[in-house]
Subunit: 75 residues, 2 copies
DNA sequence: ATTACAACGGACTATGAGTCACCTTTTAAT
DNA sequence: ATTAAAAGGTGACTCATAGTCCGTTGTAAT
């Protein structure tokens, strides 16, 4: 699976846990709602600065975000 | 510290461990020679696809790469 | 003096950021 | 079952910037 899709899935999962709509997350991360859609569906190749905003909006950090089976099994 | 700088430092550290020149790493990751300089010095806002190539060229993965104090202490 | 490496710069092309109108799907109500 | 509202997805667009390619400079070692 592409890194885009993996990241999208992880964001979706964390968003669901927090019971947020894409719109609410978008607002927190200061991006457009449709942008979140694009990221979650793996269509966007995000830069680390934007990813940082989204991760923080999910009250997480890079270390925790990527501490997940799918990101440890690659290579 | 910016996420760019944190990532740059981490890449530099891993590259040194592997005893690679920037050029050798660039070649492995299939990016431009000058691009690695920009990333390591924190001037570049990399996309996850390119970051993936660099991380793999360093024989690592996202999970391990971000499993580092600086990336766990943010937020 | 030459070689290897790293930082930097300018000019260029490819692509991501950010936004919009519009459509479909899901949910929850009556 | 029908409806309305909320939520999610799509394509196309502009503008900023990611990433490339040419070179130069500084440094340290040989």
């Amino acid at each position: 699976m592409s890194i885009n899709k993996k990241i999208g899935k992880r964001i979706l999962a964390l968003r669901k846990i927090q019971n947020l709509s894409q719109e609410a997350l978008a607002h927190r991360a200061n991006v457009d709602r449709t942008y979140i859609t694009g990221v979650e569906t793996g269509k966007r190749n995000v830069t680390v600065r934007v990813l940082e905003r989204i991760i923080h909006a999910l009250e997480s950090n890079f270390g925790t975000f990527f501490n997940d089976k799918v990101f440890l099994d690659e290579k």
